[in-house]
């Protein structure tokens, strides 16, 4: 039983946390791709800047002496999401809208988004330096150790408070997104435009409004994903830049333009990464008692060494692109 609890700690919880972050980021990328038809690289910087908005607000709260029962990062999240949504709208108006008006190809927009990535990253580094920050400098990160001895395990189930809240918040967000996309007029308009932009326009959907709503949703979700990642690890200027490729992989694996696909892809890649680096000896150790001398299990038996964790996502990406060139849920193309 100890081995089973260990497996849950190392794979299920770690994979779920990572998967939630990837999924939230990938939904934004997939919506932007569906509506605007370009791969938005600067999404990583929307995530990082969102996390920094939340960090500044949390620091302000701490300075004002406001103490909250749950981590302050989650309390300030709604305000930071609004700020990020406005920021995303501003970026679109300043950089992408003029190019769209000129009728530039999607490829040009992609390169422009790399320019935006560099500018935002430069600004963040200018103001915050290259060091890392933690949300838990003034408050403590609660760690729950659930005793599982009634199941016959010698080890407790370990989960931190941010991880628990993170999973709950993600589930609520995904449900809200589902109802927004299926029940509201705007959400239906977004899905219609993702399916066929010309048809959506002639059937009376306000495409300019849909584009704005897309940026609001993408910016808010990016802020959420970035803040969660910063709460789970540490906040640094290249926080999201390092994981933008797994996020893109999640969006592509799910099929670009498919919101549900992005969520599935994010969870898939999150779990795949934590499964690949999991040390199987920990679970299979009881076998050593049965196995003969020459076939004893080595001390570490993982599918991939830990250093190669990030490459798992790329390998999945390349394999999926080869087998189904537009993703599992049959995505759009530019």
């Amino acid at each position: 039983m100890t081995e089973f609890i260990f497996f849950i700690n190392q794979v299920v919880i770690a994979g779920a946390v990572l998967g939630c972050i990837y999924a939230l980021g990938a939904v934004g990328i997939t919506l932007v791709f569906g509506i605007l038809r370009f791969a938005h690289f600067a999404h990583s910087e929307l995530m990082t800047s969102g996390a920094f908005f939340a960090f500044l607000l949390a620091s302000a709260f701490a300075a004002w002496g406001i103490v909250t029962p749950i981590p302050t990062g989650f309390v300030v999240l709604p305000i930071a999401m609004v700020a990020s949504a406005i920021f995303a709208l501003g970026v679109d108006k300043g950089f992408y809208a003029p190019l769209r008006k000129r009728g530039a190809k999607p490829v040009i927009l992609l390169i422009a988004s790399i320019g935006v990535t560099l500018m935002v990253q430069g600004l963040i580094r200018l103001f915050f330096g290259a060091g890392s920050y933690s949300f838990f400098e003034t408050e403590t990160k609660d760690v729950f150790r659930i005793d599982t001895s009634f199941l016959g395990s010698t080890r407790p189930l370990v989960i931190t408070e941010p991880q628990l809240i993170m999973i709950v918040v993600t589930v609520i967000t995904v449900l809200a997104l589902h109802f927004f996309l299926t029940r509201s007029r705007l959400g239906k308009g977004m899905r219609a435009m993702a399916d066929n932009a010309d048809l959506a326009q002639v059937s009376g959907i306000n495409t300019a409004l849909v584009v704005r709503v897309t940026w609001v949703v993408a910016g808010a979700l990016a802020c959420m994903a970035g803040t969660m990642l910063a709460l789970d690890v540490t906040l640094k200027p290249d926080l999201a830049f390092n994981i933008i490729i797994p996020i893109f992989a999640a969006a592509i694996v799910g099929g670009l333009g498919q919101a549900y696909g992005a969520i599935a892809g994010g969870l898939l890649i999150g779990f795949a990464e934590s499964l690949a680096v999991f040390n199987w000896t920990m679970v299979l150790r009881p076998l050593n008692a049965v196995l003969p001398e020459w076939a004893q299990l080595p001390a570490t038996l993982s599918l991939v060494p830990t250093e190669y964790k990030l490459t798992v996502a790329f390998v999945i990406l390349v394999v999926v692109l080869l087998v189904r060139p537009t993703g599992i849920f049959k995505g759009a193309s530019s």
């Binding site: 791709f33 490829v107 790399i114 320019g115 290259a130 250093e307 390998v315 990406l317 692109l321 193309s333």
Partner: protein, 427 residues
Amino acid sequence: MIRRSLTLFAGLFVLILVIGWAMGLPFTSSRLVEAAAYSLIALGLNIQWGYGGLFNFGIMGFLMLGGFAVTFISYPVNPQFWGSDGPWMLGRALIAFAAGALLVYGARQSDRVGIRGGWKTFVTVLAWFVAYCVYRSQIDPAAAYIEANAGFVGGLGGHPVLGWLFGGVLAAAVAFVVGKIALGLRTDYLAIATIGISEIIRALIKNMDWLTRGTLTVSPIPWPTNLPQAYQASGSSQFESLILARGGFLLLAIAVLAVALFLISRAYAGPWGRMMRAIRDNHIASASMGKNVTARQLEIFVFGSVLMGIGGAMLVSFTQIFDPSSYQPINHTFLIWVMIIVGGAGNNWGAVFGAVLIWLVWVVSEPLAKVIFDFVSYWSSNVGWGAIPEIESRSAQMRVFVLGLVITIALRWAPKGLIPEAVRREG
């Protein structure tokens, strides 16, 4: 068009003179050598994107391969490795790799013995898994043994120019495999797939300590021309020998660049170039005219990557240190894209102009930002707002911002680049 190019190049020359005057000759000569290497890399991307319309965002991977190649060829031989059991263990790992490859090949041919459909997929996946396990079972102990006993494999002690050539060959081989896998994808998908592949290459080179020494870095890597120390030994002053040595390297780099520029300009002006433009502009029509679009795109992807490999090798042999952790997508992929976009995709002179200009902007923006920050800091502390803290580290970050600014300005007001592609009407 010619006049515009000449004016721009004259302006670039003036800029170089200004930098030489402000930053000193040793600084400027080093930056020019690097600019020549980057020009070669930019020409490589110009072939892929400007001629072929291929979206390669994995430049960093090819630069790393070139850097590794020159390290492997030109670094002195490591007798500790060759005297140990290392080569024998590596040989066994190689045999395991070959056996694994054979197994996968066999599984892919299994339909000949009547295994079809889902069963064939199953057999193939199983073969991949078994091959991977067999290879890991041999390479893991070999890697641990070499790292413990000899540090790393070391080099072959060859001439650095051989290393540059090997960089081109290695990049070509990898580009062939990558192209076979990824070139069927459309623009955005291709961009993301190539980024993923270059990250895999980085992870491998960074973590294969037994082969590349990983994060421990390899230095000093020998120069193809005389080092400053050689000139100093023969009686030149320190400054003189520095300039002479870098001048020699610069001449060699410019010679390589000139040969590459001549060859690809000739090819581009001929029927081959016409065919490539036709494929780029309308691959469906070209395919119906009987051109083998897939093969031609693979060809162009390999050609471009060769130049990237050689350029990456030149950069490493000039700085004399191979440090896998110093490679970043910002510095080694996006920077080169900015060079092409600003210089003008589809024009070789535009690529060279953009490479030199952007490289100079990139290296100068740091000291320039420091001067501006010092100035602002002086005023703000006089006014009473206090000085700017950590000016050194902050100005170092400004060049990323400047790069982003340049790319957005260029896309907005000069989308075809400063020296745009010359569209000729032939016949």
